[in-house]
Amino acid sequence: MSDTNGPDEPARGDDLTAGPAASGEPDEGQARRRVIGTPAPAQARTLLPEGPGGPAPAVRELPADPEDLPGAKRAERAVAASFTISMLAGLGFIACYVIFRVHTVNNVFHSNLALGLTMALAFLALGVGAVIWVRRLMPNVELTEQRHELRSTPENKAAFKKTFEEGADASQFVKRPLIRRTLIAATVPVAIAPIFLLRDLGPLPEQSLDHTVWKRGTRLVLFGTNRPLTPADFNSPGSSVSVIPEGFADNDDALAKAATTLIKFAPGQLQKPTVLNWTVDDIVAYSKICTHLGCPAALYEQTTHHILCPCHQSTFDATRGAAVIFGPASRPLPQLPLMLNAEGFLVARSDYQEPVGPSFWERS
């Protein structure tokens, strides 16, 4: 890959005395002058053969001192100052952790501010110090390294081919098709089998998407307070409330399909295709689950009677059977058949007559 590799001869003054090829005696004088861990001298990086006069004198690739020596002193102080600020900020962080209490919203915000700012200062000051260090103190050099084409030499390729083919021959894999074929035949089911383990991740959908928990006689209760409703609760037209089936307030699985919007209209406002038989006293119930992607279609505009889904802005006309008037939803919100029970409470006449919520493959 790289030709910056130094040759392994230690006599070159390769300072990494830990080198594996440290068989010869390194030049003691040179090793002492150089700092362990610094890069190899420049001539160790060339591919030129050694001159007849033995190792050439070491040439530094990286100068030991920056160009602007007087300025270096100032830079050094700036770096040290940055690192000191970082240290103080780090101590400040620990102090803030101890000092600031949490457990109330205001305390948490103060603690967050104190911890975050000290932490930010600690890191940023470290970064600033390091940048000044590199830019002002380290001598500015640019080195050039040669590339080689990545492809292997023909000899290496040929050797690889030979090795591979020898191995294939020795394994008998090519010569004995019986082993080969039975091995392949064995791996396929073994590879497929784990997929079966995933089968019990969940039940099959079956018909569950077609129904909700609404049944004939289920009372509509107000979402939040679980109070059953009578037509008298709607004293003026235009209001809209969210209702759920009684007894399912804590059942998210049920509510995810059964959530319903109840809207009271003035007489005569409701038009086809709203099923007027399914309304009570100009109160109509639509599924709250958007037919696009299942978000609660939660926004109702009284003046235009539009139901708007906040997720993707499908808009439904509540006076006309919740027909789609804009947006990506392709079906109206299903209407829940309503009636009054013997005590005068609003109840469902039946479940929704079609699946609620987003479309799915089995939906017809």
Binding site: N5, G6, L16, T17, A18, G19, P20, I36, G37, A40, R45, L62, Y97, V102, H103, V108, S111, L115, L117, M119, A120, F123, L124, G127, A130, M138, L143, T144, E145, R147, E149, L150, L201, G202, P205, L209, F223, S242, D250, D252, D253, A256, I289, H292, L293, G294, C295, P296, A298, P310, C311, Q313, G327, P328, S330, S359, F360, W361, E362, R363
Partner: protein
């Protein structure tokens, strides 16, 4: 001295066992070319490290459980409210663990920065042609990393089980259900039954904290190993060729710089976590399938998907008792699918069209690949339209325009804007190339006006210096396609039939460039030392322009 001896001792101990001296020495001298845009990938890398650190802290306190409890914690507005343990423990991290809110906010900001940096890095790679041979594999790894990042992010912000994230999951469920044939099964298997069920949070949790980060870590490792092995690309400049790398060595320069950079990124994220509130889940409340708030927005990297879902018409078929919900699965799968597939195939398409199988280590300036740059800008434009549409309710609100109008504009713009962007970008690139050619031919204006003995005024120009010349002259020169086979005088293989015709047409489009002035070939041109360039002559175009030799007059 004693430090030296100690270091030497440790070094010898390690090398006797691990044989590192040679390899590590080469690594210490690894050359890093400098350019600001090379730092974008590093932002992604360091954001990921910060994500691992802060994420590990969060796992110490987070409870990935959907079982319901009644909240009795420090956040009084939700006192007595029923919620999942996941949500309650998120409140606990925010209000009862010191530094918990900070870690949560840094984690979220770091995730956004991670994705933003991947975007920017990918754009840089594309526009400079860094994906070309031999780096196609790393380009593909990058695309997979991007995809994994999207999923990781989606799962991450869904974990707290708040109202907003629950809505996101609901949309995910709807998208899965819409997929023909297998959709409902996928949804039921992911959620362990009907939505929301009790399984999704623990399942997302293990994917979010183990499986996907593990994959990302493995792929980042591969990405970096390949990068080190193949050496860096470099921007054109004096002395920089396809055969070398010019820059500063890893040790000590790059080490110090990149360390500083890591601290800057961590510092900036800490600043964001301290000052900029993100995802205040306590304000949203626990998830409830009945409730929803207006202005719901996903994190920015999901904005394009969200916009596609908003902009697509309400097309749906019911055929033979089955529903094809085109209005859902097409926008959910097709735009991103096209983007990723197209990006993955582009290096190979370009290679096929140009017939260029050489290694490229010297980067293109975007203007010098006008068609590629134009295609890139067109794709970004289409993406941008969908992305903006993902926030159309916010835009409509802020700019006081009709909500529906924003969607209608996006429906048109998503097709028209990319075409315009392509044409405009290409013109700009070619124009910039002409400017470069002009500089090479006529040199830099010195501002000196000289009167000739004949009374004519000329403006003096100075030839561009060597550094600028190296930049201006850097072009990928494509060999012409082998149209006719030399031996048999019939069309060469690969150029026959309709496909061959398409290829030669595309070749002309992809390699379209303003030619460099004659005599400006690489390495054969020496700048004259007399400081006088040709007087600025008006030339009809680069083709009929005289050579820019300074000895012209």
């Amino acid at each position: 001295m004693s430090t030296n001896r100690a270091l030497e001792g440790v070094g010898t101990f390690l090398d006797d066992r691990l044989h590192g001296a040679r390899g590590i020495r080469i690594f210490l001298r690894k050359i890093f070319p400098d350019h600001w845009s090379f730092l974008l990938g590093e932002i992604a890398l360091y954001s990921f490290i910060i994500l691992l650190l802060t994420g590990t802290f969060l796992t110490l306190f987070f409870q990935p459980s959907m079982s319901t409890i009644t909240y009795h914690g420090s956040y009084l507005p939700l006192e007595g409210v029923k919620m999942s343990r996941a949500y309650a423990s998120t409140l606990n991290i925010s209000f009862d663990v010191r530094g918990g809110l900070l870690m949560r906010q840094i984690h979220h900001w770091a995730a956004d920065l991670f994705m933003a940096a991947i975007f920017a890095h990918m754009i840089r790679i594309f526009f400079t042609g860094a994906y070309r041979k031999p780096r196609e594999v790393n380009w593909l790894i990058g695309i997979i990393l991007f995809t994994l990042g999207l999923i990781e992010g989606l799962f991450g912000y869904s974990l707290p089980d708040d109202l907003l994230s629950g809505a996101g999951l609901r949309i995910l469920e709807g998208v899965l259900q819409s997929i023909p044939i297998v959709g409902t099964y996928l949804a039921f298997f992911l959620f362990g039954g009907p939505f929301p069920g009790n399984d999704i949070v623990p399942r997302m949790y293990i994917l979010h904290v183990l499986v996907i980060p593990g994959l990302i870590l493995a792929l980042i490792t591969a990405h970096l190993f390949i990068m080190v092995f193949q050496k860096h690309t470099q921007m054109p400049g004096k002395g920089r060729t396809n055969q070398n790398v010019v820059g500063q060595p890893m040790y000590p320069y790059f080490m110090a710089k990149t360390g500083a950079y890591f601290f800057f990124i961590f510092g900036v994220l800490a600043l964001a976590g301290a000052l900029a509130q993100i995802n205040p889940v306590w304000l949203y409340g626990p998830y409830n399938p009945v409730a929803m708030s207006a202005g719901s927005q996903p994190d920015f990297y999901m904005g394009m998907l969200e916009g596609a879902l908003r902009v697509f018409p309400a097309w749906q078929w019911v055929v033979f008792g089955h529903t094809f919900a085109f209005n859902v699965f097409v926008p959910a799968l097709v735009p991103l699918g096209l983007l990723f597939t197209g990006a993955a195939m582009w290096p190979f398409i370009e290679q096929w069209v140009t017939g260029d199988k050489r290694e490229h280590h010297l980067l293109d300036r975007p203007r010098n690949a006008p068609t590629r740059t134009a295609i890139g800008i067109a794709v970004i434009t289409a993406y941008g339209v969908l992305w903006a549409e993902g926030a159309n309710d916010i835009l409509a609100d802020h700019f006081q325009i009709s909500l529906y109008l924003t969607t209608q504009i996006a429906q048109v713009a998503v097709f028209v804007a990319p075409v315009l962007a392509y044409l405009i970008t290409k013109r700009i690139c070619l124009g910039l190339q002409r400017k470069d050619v002009h500089l090479l031919e006529h040199g830099v204006e010195t501002g000196i006006i000289r009167q000739l003995p004949s009374g004519e005024f000329i403006e003096e120009t100075a030839p561009v210096d060597d550094e600028a010349r190296a930049v201006l002259e850097s072009r990928t020169d494509y060999e012409p396609l082998p149209v006719i086979d030399e031996d048999s005088d019939v069309p060469a293989p690969g150029m026959r039939g309709a496909l061959g015709k398409v290829r030669s047409r595309l070749y002309n489009v992809v390699t379209e460039s303003v030619p460099l002035p004659a005599g400006n070939g690489h390495g054969q041109h020496e700048v004259e030392g007399n400081g006088h360039a040709a007087p600025a002559a008006v030339s009809g175009g680069p083709d009929d322009a005289p050579p820019a030799e300074g000895s012209e007059h």
